[in-house]
Amino acid sequence: MSARIPYLLAAVGTAAGLCLGQKPGDELDMSVKELMQIEVSSVARKQQTLARSAAAVYVITREEIRRSGYGTVPDVLRLAPGLHVAQVGGHTWAIAARGFNGTFANKMLVLVDGRSIYTPHFGGVYWELHDLMVEDIERIEVIRGPGATMWGANAVNGVINIITRSSRSTEGGLAVVAAGNAGEGSSALRFGGRLSENVWFRVYTKLSKHRSAVVGDGRDAGDAWRDGRGGLRFDWEPSSRNAVTIIADATRGQFRETAVLPLVQAPFSREVGSRYGTSAEDLLVRWRHTHRNGTETQVQFYFDSYDRPHPVFSERRHTVDAEFQSRSRLGGIHEITWGGGYRFSRDVAGAGHINVMPNILGLDLFTAFAQDEVQLADGMVLLAAGAKVQRSDFAAVAVQPSARILVEPFRRHVFWGAVSRAVRLPSRLDWDSSIWMTTVPGTPQTRGLPMRIVLAGSDRNVAQPMIAYEAGYRTQISGRAAIDVTAFRHHYQRLRSLELGEPALQMALPPYLTMPATFADGLHGSSWGAEVLAVVKLLPRWNLIATYTETRATYSLRPGIVSSALSGEPAFQPQHLGSLRSQFDLPRGIQFDATWYGTGAVKSPATLPGLIGYKYPVAWSRLDVRGMLPIRRDLKLSVRSGGILDPHREEFRPEIFMIPTEVRRTVDIALEWRF
């Protein structure tokens, strides 16, 4: 289950013949054996494969990543349509599709090489622990909407699947050094080779120093960070029908953070600067086998561990996961995929401001899925139906069926539709948390006593089902333009609401009140909108890519619920989101690329309490540029700037526990050497 995107972008490089390092057509003189060893890439084939996906898919290709000049995963994700990517401070991002974004966004499944990286603590991703070497990313598949049957847990609003390059493709050495104007920089070194006729390997290391964000008036926000990572990968093909992949990484980071924590007396909150170190390790082993009859089976096992002692939400976690999947063709018409997996995840909640009790917990997750894809009318119609079933410790069995249809009535015109049910399984935050959100200064109603607002999780939070209706249309126009349009409507049930309790008096000196608020499941919600992507090759050397996404949402109380209409969900979305990218090839291999990304004002139908005085993020945009100059066949120089138009800009306002910050403009120079 992977799909590719119109590769008009890759065509710019090859058609113009400006890609350095490509050999001329030796293929015509090769023997059959040699031809069978080559990795084949085909613009037309990829266009066709992607166009036949009954889902809102976009694939960020290696070439796009290179041309964007971005060096971190969150920046690269801005290249996909429909993804709201906002940096909230030096090392925190709010990334989501189709609404429900926030620093605790919980409806996206994110994977790296098949390894799930969202945390069961609250369902989001610690992006700062995944400072991957972007040069070794093969592609990133971004699916908006509930992931099709086969993806794992948490794929409610979308799936982001980051796939790194096989070590077969990364023989040789690569060194990249970048240095910026505010003392930030990174250096990465990778070396790959062939150990024997059918074993390849790659080893890499990357060190980065990242700047802090700034507070509105330009002061340092106290959240700079640095990290180092390294890893290796083996790809072994014992026979033409077997492939084994082993990936291992380790990372260490040093972070500064300025947290905003509540106090019981005036001034009722204080800024706390802290420093902490993180560590993470992972190991993944995968074996793919093709049977004589064409059936492909895959078995995968991974181990993942990290320690992130953040002052607000501190977590240490170990995860073990084993999965199996099988795909077979029947009668040339059916393609049946099925499989299952088990994951065990054990966390130790640390001494952060947010408490979870019990603070040590192991969780089981069982998943099974099956899907049948049928080709009818000679390939003109594709029908797919399947279901995924999950059982976790937090919820009863969750059945998630999906049905899709795709019709290609004429060549290059594809219509598709899908109905899917997805379920967000509860997280530790939903069940076990205790969070002192804020302190409200004394009012006449509270007789002048300050009042703490404390949120608590509850075991009444069951799984959150949602149903998504989606439809789309794709077309290619004479190989020079492609358009991809999707419309969606999501209905969510049991969204997190808050039940406000009676304030209780705490006899302390000075005394104060505590009002409990419990996470409940009292809200319904709907979101709807459309996503448009257009790719145009204006000139043989000039590509333009434009995207626009509109998202709206509403909430309401479930009937008969005694709850407030206050939302406990991260529920922010910009109504308007768009981007415009230009890729221009100049003579002598020089490239000039620019990406404009902007959002309208962010809205949320309802907010967390304690966001008193919260100012919604206003519209913002950024223009990132990159110029690349090949100095020698093996040496490339790039000059890049992120957010060139403003010295700093606010992309998102943190809901709680962080100071509002603005992201700085970056200007840096990078040198890339292949050896």
Partner: protein
């Protein structure tokens, strides 16, 4: 470094190799003026192959790549490559069944339908499957060396 290559080039590489390992039945006494490779259902590939193959010779004759529009002309080709623009049902395989024309394609289930050689991608690498009955019916003989490298399908 395992090189990446454009699919059309790789397909043409295979076609040239197939031509080297295949024996066509002796036709009329006159030596053929050209070695004709016909491409149907993929104009882009046809144009690319024509450019790439110009100046080459196979079996002693210069290679010519043509794009016949009429099915009857296919009988005069040595190799016919059916592109993916065609729907499976419209493949004129039955008409060519007993002609000495090597039919090759990447269309799914081509060999099952009576095509002689089906090229397909396994991951990102090209493989091929051979339908021996179809080869026999057309009177073509393929060397065992090539058959050894074929995949089952």
């Amino acid at each position: 470094m395992v090189p990446e290559a454009d699919e059309t080039r790789v397909v043409l590489g295979f076609l040239l190799n197939f031509a080297k390992f295949t024996e066509w039945p002796q036709q009329s006494a006159a030596a053929p003026a050209e070695f004709r490779i016909c491409v149907v259902g993929d104009d882009n590939a046809a144009d690319a192959m024509r450019r790439l193959a110009s100046g080459r010779t196979l079996q002693g004759a210069p290679v010519a790549v043509t794009k016949p529009k009429v099915h009857e002309e296919l009988r005069h080709c040595r190799i016919v490559f059916f592109g993916s623009d065609l729907r499976r049902r419209t493949l004129p395989l039955t008409a060519l069944r007993q002609s000495p024309v090597l039919t090759v394609s990447m269309v799914r289930a081509f060999a099952a339908q009576g095509g002689m050689i089906e090229l397909f991608l396994h991951d990102t690498r090209m493989r091929f499957a051979v339908n021996r009955k179809a080869l026999e019916a057309g009177g073509l003989r393929v060397s065992p060396e090539l058959l050894e490298l074929a995949s089952p399908r």
